[in-house]
Amino acid sequence: MDCCGGTDEHEDDCTEVTVKEGIDAKTVEAAKALESENYSAGFSTEIETEYSPKGLSEDTIRFISAKKEEPEWLLEWRLAAYRRWLTMEEPTWAKVRYDPIDYQEYYYYAAPKSGAKYESIDDVPKEILETYEKLGIPLREAEVLLGVEGAAETAATAREAPRVAVDAVFDSVSVATTFRKELEKAGVIFMSISEAVREYPELVKKYLGTVVPQSDNYFATLNSAVFSDGTFVYVPKGVRCPMELSTYFRMNAENTGQFERTLIVCDEGAYVSYLEGCTAPMRDENQLHAAVVELVALDDAEIKYSTVQNWWPGDEDGKGGIYNFVTKRGDCRGPRSKISWTQVETGSAVTWKYPSCILRGDDSVGEFYSIAVTNGRQQADTGTKMIHLGKRTKSRIISKGISAGKSDNTYRGLVSINKRAEKARNFTQCDSLLIGGRCGAHTVPYVENRRADAQLEHEATTTKLSEDQLFYARQRGLGEEQAVALLVNGFVREVLQELPMEFAVEAQKLLEVSLEGSVG
């Protein structure tokens, strides 16, 4: 089934940008700052970088593995993935177009030369901290980073005032991990995956590649061969993680494909909420990004994974920008487990991303809440897969696509009800909003059902931002941009509500910035 929207009309009246009153005045100021520079994340930090040899070969992989002081099994694992990758072909089924990628033109490893490990925040190069500061987005991050001094506080106080722990990934190496002591008290392991390989090899070995196997798809296989760094989280039995965990990914060195690998394991009855936020500096060359995220939820465990993604989308002509080819998958391995994906995707030139849930355990629940915004010449092909294997498994998909400019926005989803999955249920709602007449919205929902007792509901709408609504809001005193922002916020409200509070504020701000100049 394929229902497409998109019209040819085109309006051109320009109005000056007015600032929107969002949740509070601070947000407005922050948004204003972002608007004025259009994309303030577009800069690069000058620090010495150590590269692997250019291009991809077994030598590159050995170099990466050696740099990371990895055990033999992991090197072999990488090499096996590489050899398989050589036999694979790049997928072409997504509704995205981009110039062929020359995989030999990339560096697969880049690390700040001044050292990979930092004992304290003082050891982190000033430029790196300044990069974070300049971004403006991780405002609370500065707060958290300052909190390093007070990291000796008990987990109990952390529970009273929920905070965010940050594992900052700067290019390929994790440079700052905070709140670790508190987490340790709770028994939560939160560290870079390279560290975890050294410190908890058995845990990593047990779960790595069990949700997204090496052979899964072209980009996941590539990631398995060359993954540089990423995050590892383990929440032990019965533990509710005392704070929200957060990683900010930054791509910095030129021409560095970045290949994060994230593995989150929630043991029986455990709970964790994980926030992932990303910005990248402006680049002329397209930057390749192929991450893999694996989530494992054992019996009664719950993982909530939230993403705000605003990587460089390229310039007005679509030059530059990030290629974002991500494989994200969660495995509800135990009965009554739950995995919830929430994503706000506003960046990247090309997005190819389908955070999915394998509902293996009986009575397990999978959720996918998505806002995907495309403007300019951005292309997004994103959605989810809900694979129902266990009995009475439930899934819920709410997707809100917003297309503006000359962009293309595709929802692609699969709901699969296996023979064993008695009384499985799914609810899918896909709404598309078109702003202007030169963009496209496409909905491609696949359903595979092998049970007569399955309950499947699907709703889809495509609407154009209405002239009536805009005029109504402006007659009440809202400026044009502000009116668009308000209408769009209304459109995505159901999904915004799923985000943790501070993330929701950031997301709102991002929506506004991404859609700037989209009317007219």
């Binding site: 929107k20 400026g479 409200r493």
Partner: protein
């Protein structure tokens, strides 16, 4: 005061454009309520859109000023900030945006355009509560998305709620009586009457005389073919009711 002189305006794009307002002249001094009546297609709604700056309506001649300011060159939101308020004949639904959020955003945006401070949250809530009570609006309704799932009467009352919250200098009520039962009509009229003041002018656009029993106009104008063809006191509305537009216009043309 609202002063319109020899206004002409078209609707539609380029070759398709159709002249709807044909040399309209009208003055509504502050403190007065004027009614505009007229048959379908006379240009009543067009006039309200031209005055509030809706796109697709182009002014081709004449002028319109509000308290001396030329409003025709302004964006809709600037006109709103100057105090122009239109109560829509068909209020628009805005999914996902709660009434309170919408009105507060609008109010603060207007204040900002006027160089005033934002209203504080407690002040806003207090004001909202008082007005809702006056209009017999359920507090829960103000938390729901703007006009979504509202009945016709609720939508009109919500227009009046917004009007009372925003305290405009000049009101245009476009067919506010349509779709209202008699009780709702009374409530709405009470709200409008409460807004009457020496500084505020009103233009009440209606088909029927009924609304004018509750909102007593100082003057009644008859609009036909895009011009004011007759002006009189409140009794003119009664005559129109009795004799119909044909009867009254027959003598005017």
């Amino acid at each position: 005061m609202l002063k319109i002189e020899n206004l002409t305006a078209t609707v539609g794009e380029a070759e398709e454009a159709k002249q709807i307002i044909n040399g309209l002249t009208l003055e509504v001094p502050a403190g007065e309520v004027h009614a505009i009546m007229g048959p379908n297609g006379a240009g009543k709604s067009t006039l309200s859109y031209v005055l509030t700056g809706r796109s697709g309506y182009e002014v081709t001649g004449g002028s319109a000023t509000l308290n001396g300011d030329d409003i025709l060159e302004m964006d809709p939101e600037e006109r709103a900030a100057k105090g122009m308020f239109l109560s829509f004949q068909y209020p628009v639904e805005i999914p996902g945006v709660p009434v309170m959020t919408f009105v507060r955003t609008a109010m603060n945006s207007q204040r900002k355009l006027r160089g005033e401070d934002e209203i504080s949250a407690p002040d806003f809530i207090k004001k909202s509560r008082e007005i809702a009570k006056q209009l017999k609006l359920d507090a829960e309704m103000l938390k729901r998305p703007v006009n979504v799932g509202f009945s016709g009467g609720e939508k009109k009352r919500l227009e009046i709620y917004q009007m009372m919250m925003l305290e405009p200098r000049f009101l245009i009520l476009d067919e506010t009586d349509s779709g209202l039962d008699i009780d709702a009509l009374k409530t709405v009229a009470e709200g409008v009457n409460a807004m009457r003041s020496p500084e505020r002018g009103m233009l009440v656009i209606t088909h029927y005389q009924r609304l004018l029993d509750y909102i007593k106009p100082d003057k009644v104008h008859v609009l036909a073919a895009g011009r004011i063809v007759k002006t009189g006191g409140p009794d003119l509305a009664h005559r129109l009711e009795a004799e119909g537009y044909d009867g009254v216009l027959g003598e005017a043309v």
